[in-house]
């Protein structure tokens, strides 16, 4: 399946990207490994995951076309 990953805040700076598409993903764990390959150490940052704009558990079930957002601690206001 194809998954779009969005990076915000410090993670956009760390990866140098706002978004990246991943093809041939079969699970969140697979996506996690692919992200770790592309951006070593990324999972050492403090962030939560949202799937299709809803914050989820650590190991969400993904489906084709999902949007996975990496959300560092919020700082609005």
């Amino acid at each position: 399946m194809e998954i779009t990953v969005l990076f915000f805040g410090i993670l956009a700076d760390a990866t140098g990207l706002n978004a990246k598409s991943y093809n041939g993903i079969d699970s969140f764990d697979d996506l996690r490994h692919r992200m770790e390959d592309d951006f070593p150490g990324i999972f050492h940052y403090n962030f939560r995951i949202a799937v299709n704009r809803v914050i989820t558990e650590d190991n969400p079930v993904l489906k084709d076309g999902d949007e996975v957002a990496c959300l560092p601690p919020f700082a609005g206001g």
């Binding site: 957002a69 919020f74 700082a75 609005g76 206001g77």
Partner: protein, 136 residues
């Protein structure tokens, strides 16, 4: 909820306040303005903050915050949030929350609660820019 490019200028703030006055059963408006501070961090002064937002989720979360406020404070009649994105200089306004209610107690309490929820739940991030850095 509205995301505004750059600072919330005085004219816009005045328009939002004027637009809140229509209902005759409203007796109180509580207003919060969040302003960028010239903080000193590790000996360097902040000259501006660049705000970024996950826009689609900001709108969803703001709707949830609005529902929470309207259900917890039954005297609240209207509620509006404006938040900046992009560059806002020290001394400029980046957040406006206005709550209109029948009476002042609920207007003030709901406004305080809304600001807390915005800080906790709105997917917005800030990046400090310092006085010793060149302008972008």
């Amino acid at each position: 909820m509205r995301l505004i490019e750059g600072p919330l200028m005085p004219g816009l703030i005045a328009e939002v306040i004027a637009g809140s006055g229509g209902s005759h059963d409203t007796g109180a408006h509580a207003l919060f303005l969040g302003q960028v501070r010239r903080d000193r961090i590790d000996g360097r002064f902040v000259k501006a903050i660049e705000y970024s937002a996950y826009e689609e989720m900001v709108i969803m979360e703001a709707n949830k915050i609005s529902k929470t406020i309207l259900s917890e404070f039954e005297d609240v009649r209207a509620f509006e949030i404006l938040h900046s994105r992009g560059m806002v200089k020290a001394g400029e306004t980046a957040l406006l929350v206005i709550v209109s209610a029948g009476h002042r107690q609920q207007a003030l309490a709901a406004c305080g609660k809304a600001v807390d929820l915005i800080n906790e739940r709105l997917p917005v991030w800030k990046k400090e820019l310092f006085e010793d850095e060149p302008d972008l």
